[in-house]
Amino acid sequence: MHPAMRRNYGNWAYHEDPQPGVLLHVSKDGQKVWTIKAATQRILDVYTIRKICDIADQYADGYIRFTLRSNLEFIVTDEAKVQPLIKAITDAGFIVGGTRNSVTTLSHTQGWLHCDIPGTDASGVVKSMMDELIDEFTSWNMPNRVHITTSCCQINCGGQGDIAINVQHTKPPKINHDLVANVCERPSVVARCPVAAIRPALVNGKPSLEVDERKCICCGACFPPCPPMQINDAEHTKLAIWVGGNHSNARGKPTFQKLVAAGIPNNPPRWPEATAIVKRILKTYKEDAKDWERINEWIERIGWPRFFELTGLPFTKFHIDNWRGARASLNSSAHIRF
């Protein structure tokens, strides 16, 4: 920990935001630290790590912090060091920003690079989108902080977010029956299905499994414990976009995200269709929301029909929930905006 942080541990008075990407925290004794925040690609080669270390050694007393969105934080106690530090960071190819009411770095998962069950990539999606959202990262144009997450399968290691870009399968798994007997603990797999669509079965005389395709909701939960339940499929893996996940307690209680768009092509290397929708939502939010409204609060105020109208996204039967407790999501009132 930077000595200034240690010195003032638990003793901070307030902070200011001198410019995008820079925070100024002031302690109760009037001590000041500036934090310069910069984006990385999260998965760093040793060259990049050493480059960061060099900058920190030269400008920031040899200390580095990472945020939970893989952004760097350099800390300095001398205001004079701020601009040179920013220059050094920028020159080294990192992007300063991501503070306050900006779009901060998309949260990142493993994807095709490492995971065993991804329906899409993660690093590539994040890179492609952030290339297009960079102006929103380096400025303060949003009504409030925007926390975007990505997840490369429906397990959703990326968590919920103001906007979440997740994979959605559209076809039930195909079973590789030859493998099931040896590779899968069948009772576990049966137990894992949220809709009880899997039954043990004998196939070609061997113990295997079968899926009731009318029940199956293509969630993919059976795949991790039993890879022969082949859910992935280049054609039937689409992206879906969810909005309104908000974990902070500011103003309202934490909220879950809601589906807004699906059927989006899983289109490497740049996923332009998904990015276009994210940008459209952000643009509408930027133009229409009031200061401090997170995306969920904004939509709550204007109503979902208006959200679909303003963003031009289609509303379909898939938007109507039918999972447990879904009745709470129905409009049981005469509250309607016309």
């Binding site: 699906a262 109507i320 905006r337």
Partner: protein, 417 residues
């Protein structure tokens, strides 16, 4: 006449200022010229006192009905008839009131006269579903009494697995908030389903209730399967002079604290020139500001109704409120009313086919999912039907493109007019 049963506990219900039903029973027991009625009242008091003492009820049901009707009577046989002979058969006839419950004294007197001839002399105005309840006739007189009042125009209401008696608020008859012709809607629906009222052949009960505005004075959203609630679609009407009057008499602070800041969508504000600004696009027609300032604010001109389906109380999956199925429906022309009836028929038919035994429409919707219900009755999905889109990713979306296409086509059609 047999001796009066002692009723020490019931007697306590004659104390206090509130009108006492026990005193009414005793009037019949003590003063009525006809012995039959005196006996019945005495016997009824006796059985009721017995219930108070033992804390248990002593009625059991049965299957009494009148000729040609499968429903409308709630039969009651006493389980302690030995002791309370005169009221051992104590059936109720549920009779439909005039929509809105408007009576002339002539009607009331005529009904009372008939009832005195055949029944107990006790009439309930009204049951919670809105029927006049003629409470206390034996099996034979059930028929006779019915024949007599039927002759001069009254009909039985619902009971059993059938369409029930509808209810509608005072509305247009005496309320400035009314946005629809409650009585016409009530009558139209009720008359169309007369057969389904009298011949129970549905999975379970089905109730219509009509409220003229979102104040919902009929509790329609929670207590009816088919709830019609008046509303409007254009801007509300603002009489700025009247608003200033409120400002002057009530004070600014009062209006800010009680109107402006209570609007659920922050759609109101007071302009610098002391006029009221309404963000009609975000007004959800909750009625609050109109309630507080009825002189200044009124519903707009483009009026109609929101229809919510599936409200009911608690058995057996917990209470349900009705869900918006039609966000807005004009109810002015003959065709509007016809299409309302058609829609009600679609709903009832689909539920009659697909509901389980003793399953209300709302429970069926919960079981099969709203979307299947909408497809069953041929209604398009609409974001007004939900508080929010799905939170659960457990969904299969093979058909996304086709469904999205439907939406775009609908929007294009709407745009084209």
């Amino acid at each position: 006449m047999a001796e009066h049963f002692e009723t020490p506990m019931l007697d306590e219900l004659e104390n206090g200022p509130w009108p006492s039903f026990i005193s009414g029973f005793k009037r019949l027991r003590d003063n009525h010229p006809e012995e039959r009625i005196r006996e019945v009242a005495n016997s009824l008091l006796g059985q009721l006192e017995h219930s108070y003492e033992t804390r248990k009820g002593y009625w059991k049901g049965g299957t009494v009905s009148v000729f040609g009707y499968g429903a409308g009577i709630i039969p009651r046989f006493s389980e302690v008839e030995q002791k309370f002979q005169a009221s051992k058969e104590f059936h109720t006839l549920r009779v439909q009131p005039p929509p809105g419950n408007y009576y002339t004294t002539d009607m009331l007197r005529q009904l009372s006269d008939s009832w005195e001839k055949y029944g107990s002399g006790l009439i309930t105005f009204h049951g919670q579903t809105g029927n006049i309840m003629f409470i206390g006739a034996d099996t034979e007189n059930t028929q006779t009494f019915f024949d007599e009042i039927n002759d001069y125009g009254w009909d039985l209401g619902g009971a059993g697995p059938d369409v029930r008696t509808g209810m509608s608020c005072v509305g247009a008859a005496r309320c400035e908030q009314s946005c629809i012709d409650e009585q016409r809607i009530h009558r139209t629906l009720q008359n169309n389903f007369t057969d389904d009222v009298h011949r129970p052949a549905l999975p379970y009960k089905f109730k219509f209730k009509i409220s003229g505005c979102p104040n919902d004075c009929q509790n329609s959203i929670e207590r009816s399967d088919f709830s019609v609630i008046g509303t409007w679609r254009d801007d509300m009407k603002v009489d700025q002079e009247a608003f200033k009057e409120y400002l002057n008499t009530k004070g600014r602070q009062y209006l800010v604290d009680n109107v402006i800041s209570r609007c659920p969508t922050n759609a109101l504000s007071i302009n610098d020139d002391d006029t009221l600004a309404v963000d009609n696009r975000n007004c959800v027609r909750c009625m609050h500001c109109l309630n507080v300032m009825p002189k200044a604010l009124s519903p707009g001109d483009d009026r109609g109704a929101t229809i919510c389906i599936g409200g009911k109380r608690t058995l057996k999956i917990g209470d349900l409120m009705g869900t918006v199925i039609v966000p807005f429906k004009k109810l002015e022309t003959e065709e509007d009313f016809e299409s309302l009836v058609e829609m009600a028929e679609e709903v009832i038919d689909f539920w009659a086919e697909n509901g389980l035994e003793h399953e209300r429409c709302g429970e069926m919707i919960e079981r099969i999912g709203l979307v299947n219900f909408l497809e069953g009755i041929g209604v398009d999905v609409d974001p007004n039907m939900v508080n929010n889109p799905r939170q659960s990713s457990y969904v299969r979306m093979d058909e996304w493109d086709a469904e999205a296409e439907k939406w775009f086509e609908r929007k294009a059609e709407e745009a084209a007019g």
